[in-house]
Structure formats: structure tokens, C-alpha cells
């Protein structure tokens, strides 16, 4: 490419199809959504005012943030453990970890959600088993509540949390870890005082990705929440397709996009983009 086209022109040409697609499929329709939020059912800021007073919308927002926060903490912690094995384990351990990370990508989100229902429902595998060994007498409510949603979302998001962590762990200089041990630090202490702090950028990147994904989750909460644990994306769906209250649905969408946008801006300020891959 060099010599024929300048680097910048080449890059622009290569990115053009994607930018065109994103512009036509996302940006243009989204501008329509923004317009609705100010015009339906009557022009003005009515829908945004309603957001501030609508108890349901606010409780859903708070629930969404709470679930996203819990899912983020659990996913990143679990992903951290898997990534340590994947990046620093023996060849056999690496292979097993890689399998565990990649297989979920081959199974659709819908299949996985129903799989969790089969495991967690009142007459599902877990309750049946716990009852049969006499550990519990009444089935535990593991699904159609926040717990089920958190389990399903965490399971879906762990593989996404792995990649920023792996990138941070791979770029870490082994000699620094050896130095810590040589200076008298146990393996455990070296892990907590040297290894974990040195992968901080990976932890931040991983947490941001999981959190942002969680905010917009639809399928998993809809199935595992069973209508009782509604998250923001499901609320938008209900307002647009069932109420129908397009103006309010549009206003919630705009607020969600702005919130995610602000988080992404924060992410790129503190973490270099290449550490996310």
C-alpha cells in the first residue's frame, strides 16, 4: 500500500465499508430515536421529566446498575483465575483453560439461558439433587429472580473479561516476579503485591467491558428474570412494543447510550485501547 497510497488514505479506505455500515445501520436510526424522545407524544422535554419522576423507570435503572456491578465483580474475579491458568499454566492446563474460554462462544446466548433455566428452576437439576440428598426440603428459588439473572450473565460475560486480562498478563516481565521471590516474597505475597497490581490496566479494561455489556443485556435477563427482574433493555422493549409509549422508550434509550458513551470515554482515558484486545 505504501508508495501507492499514503498510510492515512489507505487506512481510511479500509475502514470505509465498516463506517458506512455503522452510519446507515446505527447512527442514522439512532438520530431518529433521539428525535422521538423529544417529539412523542408531544414536542418538548416531557419524556425526560417523566424519567425523573417515574418510579418504575428509576427502580429498573437502579436494579440494572446493581446487577451490572455484581456481574462485573464476579465475572472479572472468575476470569482472572481462568486467565492466570491460561497464560501461566502448564501446556495441558493452558489447553483446558482455552477450551473453557472458547466453547461458550460456540453456543448461542438463548441456548445458554434455557440451559440455566433447566439447571436452576424449582424442578431443575440442582434443586432435585439437593432435595434427594436431603440438604433442603423445599426447592430454592434460583431462577426468575436477580440471582438467576446474575448467574446467566456472569456465565456469558466471563470469556469477554478474559481477553484484556490475558493481554496484561502476557506483557508482564517474568523477571519482576522472580525478583520478588528472590527478595524473599512467598508465591502468595508475590501474587497479591506484584502480579495483581501489575495487571491493573487489564482489570480496569475487563471490568469496563463487562459492565458496559451488562447494562444493555436483554435476552438473559428476560428469560432468567422471568419478568420479575426487569433490566433497562427489557424495559425499553416493553415501552416500545407493548405499552406502546415510544417517546419514553426513546428517552430511556438516549439516556442509556449517553451513560455508556461516558463510561467508554472514561475507559479510553485510563486504558490504552490496545490493552483491551
Amino acid at each position: 500500500m505504501r508508495g501507492v497510497l499514503s498510510d492515512r488514505m489507505g487506512a481510511a479506505l479500509l475502514m470505509a465499508p465498516l463506517l458506512l455500515f455503522l452510519g446507515l445501520a446505527y447512527a442514522w436510526p439512532f438520530l431518529g430515536v433521539v428525535k422521538w424522545s423529544f417529539t412523542l407524544p408531544t414536542p418538548g422535554l416531557g419524556q425526560y421529566k417523566a424519567l425523573l419522576t417515574d418510579d418504575l423507570v428509576q427502580s429498573v435503572f437502579i436494579r440494572t446498575l446493581r446487577i451490572a456491578a455484581i456481574v462485573t465483580v464476579v465475572s472479572v474475579a472468575a476470569a482472572y483465575a481462568i486467565t492466570v491458568v491460561w497464560v501461566r499454566g502448564s501446556p495441558a492446563q493452558r489447553l483446558i483453560a482455552e477450551f473453557c474460554i472458547l466453547v461458550p462462544f460456540w453456543i448461542s446466548v438463548l441456548t445458554r439461558a434455557f440451559g440455566w433455566v433447566a439447571l436452576l428452576s424449582n424442578r431443575g437439576l440442582i434443586n432435585t439433587w439437593l432435595q434427594s440428598i436431603g440438604f433442603i426440603s423445599e426447592p430454592l428459588t434460583l431462577v426468575r429472580n436477580e440471582f438467576g439473572v446474575i448467574v446467566g450473565m456472569t456465565h456469558f460475560l466471563i470469556p469477554f473479561a478474559v481477553f484484556p486480562l490475558a493481554s496484561a498478563m502476557r506483557s508482564l516481565d517474568d523477571r519482576v516476579l522472580l525478583a520478588a521471590r528472590g527478595l524473599g516474597s512467598s508465591r502468595m505475597r508475590t501474587f497479591w503485591t506484584v502480579f495483581v497490581p501489575m495487571t491493573r490496566s487489564g482489570i480496569i479494561g475487563s471490568a469496563m467491558i463487562v459492565f458496559v455489556f451488562s447494562l444493555g443485556f436483554f435476552v438473559t435477563p428476560a428469560i432468567l428474570g422471568g419478568g420479575r427482574s426487569v433490566m433497562i433493555a427489557e424495559l425499553i422493549y416493553l415501552r416500545i412494543f407493548q405499552s406502546p409509549d415510544w417517546g419514553l422508550g426513546a428517552a430511556i434509550s438516549v439516556v442509556l447510550v449517553l451513560f455508556v458513551g461516558a463510561l467508554m470515554a472514561l475507559l479510553f482515558r485510563y486504558v490504552r485501547p490496545k490493552q483491551l484486545i
Binding site: 516481565d173 523477571r175 519482576v176 522472580l178 525478583a179 520478588a180 521471590r181 528472590g182 527478595l183 524473599g184 516474597s185 512467598s186 508465591r187 505475597r189 503485591t193 506484584v194 497490581p197 501489575m198 491493573r200
Partner: protein, 364 residues
Amino acid sequence: MQQPGRAAEIKAIGIGKSFGSFRALDNLTLDIGRGEFLTLLGPSGSGKTTFLMILAGFVQPTEGRLFSDGADITDRPAEQRAAGMVFQGYALFPHMSVEANIAFPLKVRKKSATEIKKRVGEMIERVGLIGHEKKLPSQLSGGQQQRVALARALVFEPGVLLLDEPFSALDKSLRGQMQAEMKRLHQETGTTFVFVTHDQSEALALSSRVAIFNHGKLLQVGAPDEVYDRPANRFVAEFLGEINMLPLKGVRSADDGATGLCEDRAVSLRGNPATVGANAILAIRPEHMSITREAAAGENGIAATAIASTYLGAATKLDLTTRQGAKVTVSVPNEIAAAALSKGNSVWLTWPAEKGFLLPDGGQ
């Protein structure tokens, strides 16, 4: 300040290490004296770094035992050996300040906050880093990072300090400065230093003893002048500096030395018993050879023709060919080189009897 008596004495007996089919280290037996400055010298892949890693406890030897002050430490994990270590590239903790880096080994040892503060402060002063306490390693120059690494490795008063090519990333003038500093720290702390390098001049300048490695084998250990002037074999002779090698025939032992025929001329050696057979290699360092018009009877000398010169400032390196075609290099005063070249014909190369030494013919 550490008492010299606390320096460790290390004994390696029959140490070997294989990585799969690769033999990294073979049957190494070596005593490292209390408070000595031992340099492990050799080309890359010679086993010197493997031995250092075995001393540190990062690599487990395949066979052999390792003793420190009489205690068998072969199976002791690195964190319990209390060896200070300075790595190539320093391996500082990038997320900790200079102060926190140096305090790390003391914190691990659960020293009180007041003691840590006092000892870190002393160490920072000793290595000349006052004013940089709160900086991160990335905000320091290479030389300053090197100082932090040395301070961190010495602050807990280890019995032995292990250094893995610590100066390889520094430019030449800084290197000299850091070498002097390290020598001073060795004298001040009295700790045993084990230093790995592939730079022979660095090894000769710093150490009390040099151990030369090649292909996983320890070839020779001795004081710098000993290994330089009396190398055990051809590899050691060549690795430590430029050397001229001439075939010597009819070698015979004499009182405190040997005699033989070099290009049909009788030559003699002193202080170098001939145990190499009738044919040998006569080796002489370039700086020990002189150029003269004539060689007196009984003086060691051969005829040669000057062919090229390289001006080095203080001296000139002169390349010559002997009558029988051997290539010889000498280091001589500039005006002598000019005269030898302008004459364009035969000169004599002479050397004192005690400066030549014998190496086995042909082999290593």
C-alpha cells in the same frame, strides 16, 4: 553497615542441569569464598546464567548439591535463600516508587516501620538517589534504575549478591561509573558478589576471581592475572583477549620452564612447565611482543614482515606475517609501527621468556 563475617560461603558440588536433551551445565564444582567478588564469564549459552539461576534458586539442578555456609540449600526455595539479585533490565516493580521498591524485601521480612524507614533512607543515600524517593522506575534514567536495583538487593543485607549482566543496557561511560560504584559497594558491604557477564574486560577489572564457562563446562577459575597470563586452554586464552599463537616443535622441559623450536629458532619459556607433548602452541599476548631490528643470540624472537597497521591513539596495532606464514598482531608505540611499515621488509618480533605460555596443539 554489614559485618563482613555475615557474607556467605558457597560450595557447589557436581552441579549439572539438562533442559530436555540440551546440557546447559555439566558437572560443575566450585567454591565461592566468603566476601569474594567472583565473576562468571563466558559467551551466551555457556551455562553461566544457568548457574546463577541455580544459585538464586530459580532453577533446580538436575544433579549435584549446593551448600551455603555448610547447609545444603539445593532444595530450598528462592524466597528462603536470602540471596540478593540484580537482573538484566533491573526488574524493578513498575507500580512502586523508588522508596517502596527498596523497602519491599524489608516489608516481606516484617521489619518495623521505623527500621524500614531508617534502612531505606540509608540505602538511598548510599547509592545517591536522594530526591528521587517518590518517583516511579519509569521516571528514572537507566543508571538510576540500576542504583535502585542494587539498593533493593542489598538493603536486607544478604549473604550473597547475584548480578546477571546488570550493565548490559548502559552506555559505555555510565558503565564505567556503575562498575566503580559496584566495586565500592562490594568493599563497603563485604558481601559475597557473584557477577555474570560476557564482557572479558569487565570481568578482569572487577573481580577477585574469574570463572570461565563454555558449552556448559567450567574451564578455569582463578585471579584475573592468573587466567589472563596462564590460561588453561585455547578457549580461555582467546576469550580473555587477543592472542598470538605460533606452532612450537621439539618441546622439552627445562628448569622452571621449557624450550622448543619456533620457526626453526630456539626459544625458551619460564614459569610454564611443559606438559603438552613434543608439539605445542606457543601463545603470547600482543602487548608482550616488541619489534626490534635484530634479535640477540639467546633472546626469544622470530622474523616477520609488517603488512598493515591500525592507529588506536595511544598505540598502534600492527599486523605481521612470519616467514612461515603465521599471522601475528602486536601492540606497539606509534612511531615504531610507522618505522616498521615504511621499511617494508623484515623486522624481528621478540618477547620475554616469562610472557609466553604453552597450549596443547590442535585441540581446545
